[in-house]
Symmetry: C2
Subunit: 122 residues, 2 copies
């Protein structure tokens, strides 16, 4: 499976709302997940931790809508854009605009790195 | 100037149609420019070569419209999205959808790496 093919398949699952399944299917066991913030979420290593992070996120955000753009491919990396309409627990409904940069090795995603575009109250 | 500030200023120049000026102002002299293709354009090193590439591009593409999204920031890197309505010399008018991943060091862009999303005839 080429990076282009993996990128297409991964992005299609995201577009279908199957973000969890996209990770389960294409993350390496050694996946590293990087968020543009300080603290415990900044860098998580290993599938178990990254799955936990996903569970935490879904438990703490009500997702109204996700729009997915891409993928954009270069060599062994690809970019996916996510525009999300969410309500974080106890906060106002908001729009989140971010991109993920994914690095592929041996047919699996070994790193996902998120970039924040903007957040605005809806 | 933080990466966030540089990213905002760079992206605003692009949004204003001043892509050339954005490069002139924020590229390092040692800028490396990477395109997702084989051949001479795959990796160009140094400001002179990258400026030449820009001149070649503008001489060979009629640009009807550029839409700019972002920036999306993480640490010393940021992503900008470009949606272009162009006519390459001797070819049909087309839509190009790509993102640039920019790496910043000492207040200058030291690498730009482009990712192709899709190209469609208009």
């Amino acid at each position: 499976m080429t990076t282009q093919e993996l990128a297409q398949a991964f992005t299609q699952l995201c577009r279908d709302g199957e973000l969890d399944e996209a990770g389960r299917r294409y993350w390496s066991d050694d996946i590293v997940s990087c968020e543009p913030m300080e603290g415990a979420m900044a860098e998580i290593r290993g599938r178990a931790g990254v799955e936990q992070k996903g569970q935490w996120w879904y438990a703490n955000h009500e997702v109204h809508k996700v729009e997915v753009g891409g993928p954009y491919v270069h060599g062994n990396q690809f970019v996916v854009r996510f525009t999300m309409d969410v309500t974080p627990k106890g906060q106002a409904r908001m729009s989140m605009d971010e991109v993920g940069l994914y690095s592929v090795k041996n047919g699996k995603i070994v790193e996902e790195r998120f970039f924040f575009g903007g957040r605005a109250s809806a």
